[in-house]
Symmetry: C2
Amino acid sequence: MAAHGRHTVHAVHHHFGWDRSLSPVLRVTPGSTVAFECHEASGGQITAISTATDVPKLDFARVNPVNGPVLVEGAQPGDVLKVTIESFVPSGFGWTAVIPGFGLLADDFKTPALHLWRYEAGGRVPANFATIGRVPIRPFAGTIGVAPAEPGLHSIVPPRRVGGNMDIRDLSAGVELYLPIEVEGALFSVGDTHAAQGDGEVCGTAIESPMTAVLTLDVIKGSNIESPRFTTPGSVTRHVDTKGYEVTTGIGPDLMQGARDAVRRMIDLLCRRHALAAADAYMLCSVAGDLRVSEIVDMPNWVVSFYFPRIVLD
Amino acid sequence: MAAHGRHTVHAVHHHFGWDRSLSPVLRVTPGSTVAFECHEASGGQITAISTATDVPKLDFARVNPVNGPVLVEGAQPGDVLKVTIESFVPSGFGWTAVIPGFGLLADDFKTPALHLWRYEAGGRVPANFATIGRVPIRPFAGTIGVAPAEPGLHSIVPPRRVGGNMDIRDLSAGVELYLPIEVEGALFSVGDTHAAQGDGEVCGTAIESPMTAVLTLDVIKGSNIESPRFTTPGSVTRHVDTKGYEVTTGIGPDLMQGARDAVRRMIDLLCRRHALAAADAYMLCSVAGDLRVSEIVDMPNWVVSFYFPRIVLD
């Protein structure tokens, strides 16, 4: 049954992993606007009464439930799905965790940690981190994509050519996202909403937060692309950059090692300067700091830099 | 002879490569402000009458001449050199090149290319790229550092723990840069000034431009750091971000391959949309676009994104 205009994919209509054989929960015509009632990344395994001892019990087969799939009529392999990100309605609850075995510095952080957030649901005021930090809110969907062509069930964790768990913190309201379509009807799903995150998502989690995402789905015929791309309407850092940044570097021939060095040095700096616990500094880096490649050409050493916005702790 | 107050290291006082045995051209007390008359990266090999045929003739033994070294009295190994970046006086002339064998996409771009820039020396108006592009000016020093402890002459090309050719585009006016000191007197040098560059410097060159850099050199005793870090006073993207960005992605298990994929896809997009030659798009990406790591935790696939500011071509 195709439907026009505004639709809702309710929280109950979610799935785990990508699979082209899943039955669509909604069929829409191109140009339709849909509200998705998204779960947070644990799918209810972490709640407002959870503690760090619950973190190692997370069942990864049940992480990142996504709402959908939505079939877009007329969409064919080789077309592009244009997703206009209209708005988010955040819930005001969120969590950030250090999950053993997961995250950029998994070798350094083997003890689970959990921070629970309560933030103003309108997203107009920063989320407090105890009494010492204020993280500006900028909601987006961590997982957004379409079904891959390959048959079978594919893990939700890695992102792919067709999108998925990309955790791109700039996929926020006002953005136009373009996804390559690999199956008839596109089979679009979205979830894993975040209230805030920096580039890199270095500890492995953002401010994981349930919220409603309102998106418009359209089809561009025959304009094949190789991987997701998007257009932002303006600045992507205005919410955090007014007081500038503290920046640490990692310099050497391996980008991954450079990234680890830069983040480790920022954690050291924040701990020293603000008397933070290392796990708290790591989580703040993940929800607010940005991993950038300053140069990738001065053989054989590259510079990876980690930018932490001073507004968070000043 | 130690001197107080304002000093100048003239253009003639430059050297090639890092070497702790070089004699200082100036001795200053901590807190001194010094003007450095910096050469552009070719050290005069590329001029306002050069063409692309001159690019392969570049002698890499003579690239990145740096002004100095300046001995800072009392500086010892284990101290930190604090460099306050006061201001730049740009020259109005610059060049950007595709140098065969150099740059992130050296395998794709084997033909030399050269773009010569004339920009308003005050840096208040964007530099025109023919009639189609406008690149906002934001001067900084590509090469800034101190002598490494290891004896001998070290190539200027790779950056190191002690700084050097870091090509960090945010080392602009107002920034405080902290460098680890490895030799007595620090032996500070600076050069390779750029009128504009994006994160990554993907084609291998920026808007290479001679200019005077005014810096204050100070010593922080005993506060050893592992690699350069810096503090910015405010936004680092305000000059380019008002119209937002076009963003392409590279998704996979290797950060270097992801970076190459993201930049290739941006070049394709710019060429298609603006009828640019590929080498021109590559150079514009290098002087204005940013390489960011969107996520580095969703095993086994990372997302590297390339952000091109729409203000340049809109």
